[in-house]
């Protein structure tokens, strides 16, 4: 419990420090101006979401292979946190887009694949809520989760494979891409802060899922 409180406090401090750095340390971008400061929060959340979905994918594979309940708990925890992070990405993106593109939304490859990703993980959680029996729920949702992850590389590569309204990558985007050195430091600090926040939320959600499992065991015991 104490470790979880410390992790939560560290996550909170890091997120506050990242926001401070985004507003007061990072220089103002020449073309877009202050609105570009959303970048640190938006992309930090997006990277943390992708990594949460990746851990979810690994946990789903491990569940199918080993059939251990802890992997199911980890998978659902990561899926839920990844979904929350993607929700933040889908909210902050249009707020950034409006002054820059003149529109909140367009159905280009990046935005559409991200929206589909959001829908896929909502479906994953809905599927879980529809199946009563624990083992069947874990197996079917693990299989669906493995399928849903196919969209993650599609989101990542969409701005590399197709011409999109969404900007081309500035990080790992090849020659001609890149950030100002101070922006780069603030960006990676923000990414780190969002990952610590995601880790904290996953741990909290995992504890909840384990308690749910304990209840199922106690209910079986009570019925026996």
């Amino acid at each position: 419990m104490a470790k979880r409180i410390i992790l939560g406090a560290v996550a909170l401090l890091l997120v506050i420090a990242a926001a401070y750095a985004s507003f007061f340390v990072a220089p103002t971008e020449r073309t877009m101006g202050d609105i570009q400061r959303i970048f640190y929060f938006h992309v930090g959340s997006a990277w943390a979401a992708m990594d949460a979905f990746f851990v979810c994918f690994i946990a789903n594979l491990l569940y199918v292979w080993k059939r251990q309940q802890k992997y199911d708990s980890l998978a659902v925890s990561c899926a839920e946190v990844g979904l929350v992070l993607t929700t933040v990405v889908l909210i902050t993106g249009p707020i950034w887009a409006k002054p820059v593109w003149g529109i909140y939304w367009t159905w280009d490859a990046r935005l559409t694949s991200t929206f589909v990703l959001w829908l896929l993980y909502i479906s994953y959680l809905l599927l879980r809520s529809l199946i009563e029996e624990a083992d069947r729920r874990a197996l079917l949702s693990a299989l669906f989760g493995i399928f849903a992850f196919i969209d993650v590389p599609l989101v990542f590569f969409s701005i590399r494979w197709w011409r999109t309204q969404h900007p081309a990558p500035v990080i790992m985007g090849g020659s001609g891409s890149g950030l100002d050195p101070t922006m780069n430091k603030v960006f990676f600090f923000s990414v780190f802060a969002m990952h610590v926040l995601a880790a904290f939320l996953i741990v909290e959600r995992y504890v909840l899922e384990q308690m749910r499992h304990d209840i199922e065991l106690l209910q079986r015991e009570a019925e026996a």
């Binding site: 400061r37 959340s45 933040v88 749910r212």
Partner: protein
């Protein structure tokens, strides 16, 4: 300082989403803790 209001709005909404999610986890955890206690008490002693 153009569009700074939108930047604040984006951060505020984003943080609110995380905070609300954490509140739902805390609420669900508290409900389950009570449920576990109730079930433990309902089980026959010695089990």
């Amino acid at each position: 300082m153009k569009n700074l209001g939108s930047v604040f709005a984006a951060y505020l909404i984003g943080w609110s989403v995380f905070f609300l999610f954490y509140i739902t986890i805390a609420k669900r955890t508290s409900d389950l803790r009570s449920e576990i206690e109730r079930l433990k008490n309902s089980l026959p002693r010695g089990k």
